[in-house]
Point group: C4
Chain length 232, copies 4
Amino acid sequence: MNLAELKKQVYDCNLELVRRGLVIYTWGNVSAIDRGNGLVVIKPKGIEYNLLTADDMAVTDLDGNLVEGSLLPSVDLDIHLELYKKFPNAGGIAHTHSTWATAWAQAGVDIPVMGTTHADHFYGPIPCVRQLSREEVEHDYERNLGRVIVERFEAIDPVSMCAVLAPGHGPFTWGSSPEEAVEHSVILEELARMAKLSADINGGKAPVLPEYMAEKHYMRKFGPEAYFYQKR
Amino acid sequence: MNLAELKKQVYDCNLELVRRGLVIYTWGNVSAIDRGNGLVVIKPKGIEYNLLTADDMAVTDLDGNLVEGSLLPSVDLDIHLELYKKFPNAGGIAHTHSTWATAWAQAGVDIPVMGTTHADHFYGPIPCVRQLSREEVEHDYERNLGRVIVERFEAIDPVSMCAVLAPGHGPFTWGSSPEEAVEHSVILEELARMAKLSADINGGKAPVLPEYMAEKHYMRKFGPEAYFYQKR
Amino acid sequence: MNLAELKKQVYDCNLELVRRGLVIYTWGNVSAIDRGNGLVVIKPKGIEYNLLTADDMAVTDLDGNLVEGSLLPSVDLDIHLELYKKFPNAGGIAHTHSTWATAWAQAGVDIPVMGTTHADHFYGPIPCVRQLSREEVEHDYERNLGRVIVERFEAIDPVSMCAVLAPGHGPFTWGSSPEEAVEHSVILEELARMAKLSADINGGKAPVLPEYMAEKHYMRKFGPEAYFYQKR
Amino acid sequence: MNLAELKKQVYDCNLELVRRGLVIYTWGNVSAIDRGNGLVVIKPKGIEYNLLTADDMAVTDLDGNLVEGSLLPSVDLDIHLELYKKFPNAGGIAHTHSTWATAWAQAGVDIPVMGTTHADHFYGPIPCVRQLSREEVEHDYERNLGRVIVERFEAIDPVSMCAVLAPGHGPFTWGSSPEEAVEHSVILEELARMAKLSADINGGKAPVLPEYMAEKHYMRKFGPEAYFYQKR
């Protein structure tokens, strides 16, 4: 895939965030990485979705230097770069302020596995990372948020858990492609909503899906003997 | 109705789940049974709704053997087959991960009859079956879920109660046709939402519809002297 | 307005319930009265909205006898007739199972005046009438529900309060025309939602709008010195 | 910009409230000010959005006298005028009865800063002003509501905080243009929703965004060294 195609793909994925109701105005962003050429394509900063074109996508190297395009990259670029550097399987990253995932992020807690909708797509609780210190916020904020996410994922596999909550802020998701990253944002939003509702129905206490149920559902889709998907 | 027509009907019913907002991506499935020929038509597994055609519907016999089509049936096929075998009036079955019904399923409790919207369509609380054991999950999972549903319906009439919650998972509904099965999924979702909201308004305690009110509402639609419906 | 026009008007108002998201399938109904000729036009029973035509509207006299049309009137006709007989200013009546108003009805409590959105349209709490006795449900149910509503309105002015909740069931609204009846259903649904949310934010206790604020807001729209509306 | 253009702009902004789902029927209103000529353009009162034309917008002077147009201005005109007089940077004002912001207004409490979605746009808690006295409501109500808002903003900068809740009533927002005022109404509604949901997830207690996080997020967009936006 050449760079023009990748820009078109990233553009489409950004608009998909709008179509799915996950972002408004300038909120959120999607990026993709071309690992062969060491290039990242990302939404430009501070421009509304309905004014974007595929050509507006910003292209940077892995140090964040603008390589192509007349518009500057998203202010969240450094977060994306940190994740790409440490998550070798990530081909695309999405960030939204979707309502329910953001509400969990604002509450600052992990989303426990309460059902198979969660277990079908994410292996374990959705981690909410630690709050940044004043120092980390005041100097090199976006890069430090990326680092804090990576820090938490030292103990988590970013292939089977491709979502994270930035506390007080909102969700980031990734996948093998930007399309998959967006799909994970959509699914995260829905399971975040279901999780809160089912905890409420359960008298305020998070119901617990038996671990063997979570294991079964994740593995029938993504395990070595997966049988959920098929190709035509 | 010939098989091509039944495939078209099942295809339409699957898309109706999307139009009604009950499913996204590959979630959920609808099937129908041709009892005369012992054939079941069901959505193929792991393919997104917007990529499906009527011709893609998988056709199996009652043992689950693929009879027609190049795509494999839904991984949930065995659940459907168990229900068709034990519920002789079921002509179609629908499974969704709709938000509110799934939230009740994740909480693992029956939905009590709190109003006439419920009583108009379902006779009694919506049952949430028992959680499967580790053994039942690890071996022949889907068939065992079907069996656990059937086990609970030994004491329930599957004609007047055509919905069930799989704990930690989500709802299954059925009806005399796949269209009716889908309609029951739509209505279940709405009453599940109303039930939670009215319990909240009631201080967290489920309000109880007097049994004679529930009886009246169900019977004026489906009892021997029903007067709710008319044919042109 | 002749009868054909009134049937078209009632038909349009029934479809407006669908467009506003207040009903699905066969739920709900709108009627209008031609007081000069003693005729009531109402949605036929048990037919889905998307299959209706203006010509399908049923026309009855005030005793409920079918005067015109080949389809039978809504099963809720007798409720409408009781209200038309006792509320001389009612020109149209709407019944829905809209989510939030129904949730309050299921909880069986009046909706207190918590804000000006409520006070702008309804003068006082939205009354939830008493539950019917077993006897009242088993014999002449629909007429008895109408009577129980009328009974409660002996102490309420049906001009300034044009909405009611049937406990365990759902809302009925009315107005000088069927259009106004539908508008009141839409507004009732929104204020029912706001009421629950604001009580939650207020720690579970319904906030109270000062009575002089409610008075001001209702009177600036509908009082003798109203200044809210204007005609072109 | 001439007056005809300003009327078109105000008309478009009023319709944007409908498109964004913040108002129905005659609820809400948007105005703009032409400070050079001392003129205010505002939605006419009591007319539904779908019946409005750009030409219907009412034009008044700063004392509320109708200068142009055959329709009378919104009953809320005096509130707008008070704000324009005291907030010199306000170019446009929007008022809605949007669900979640109104629910907070009905609860009568400030919306705390619980996340960066809030901090990205509003500097500090969204103030809910004091309830008006009986006297203030009964005489010159709308002007007094404007005064009570201005009173609260003696201690708040109306440039960095361009939203307020009228208790028991609903939100008002403003901005350098009517478009920006509407955008602030949309964002306020979303953060009001997120705030309630995150407090619920947090066990009913409002989570607190560290002050240095709020500072960082507001300042990276609007501070002297802001780097969030860019111009083409």
